[in-house]
Symmetry: C2
Subunit: 78 residues, 2 copies
């Protein structure tokens, strides 16, 4: 499922950058609660939110979505 794949990718990329949800919240101006909801697959982001997150995480939107697609594929076959 897209939300879940997005959630897992966001958690992983954020952790790899050594950023807390608080730090990412500060850098994106998105509420920490909202980031937490995104990371649990409870909310679906807009393209604009994806853009803000990717900028703060130093990853291109296309590279981020490539990771999301790998997660989706993983779940489709497992």
């Amino acid at each position: 499922m897209l939300n879940k794949a997005f959630a897992k990718t966001l958690r992983e990329v954020r952790a790899k950058r050594g950023l807390s949800q608080e730090a990412l919240s500060f850098q994106t101006d998105l509420h920490r609660t909202y980031i937490s909801q995104l990371e649990r697959g409870l909310k679906s982001p807009s393209l604009e939110t994806l853009n803000q997150l990717c900028k703060a995480l130093g990853i291109s939107k296309s590279a981020f979505l490539k990771k999301v697609e790998l997660e989706e594929k993983h779940h489709a076959t497992s």
Copy 2:
């Protein structure tokens, strides 16, 4: 600007597929008016909408966003 780059990419990919806005509307269950607004940069899509559009257009989300990024770059330097 992201909305404009997305709009241009959507118009171009749809045209390349030889699909009308009506046909894309039918295949995605998105309203034709909404697709028209997306293609003029008046609306910003959700990740879920991007997903539906890409499925109907037969392109991966990451490949679509790669094109969007090229548009953004083009506008940033022109």
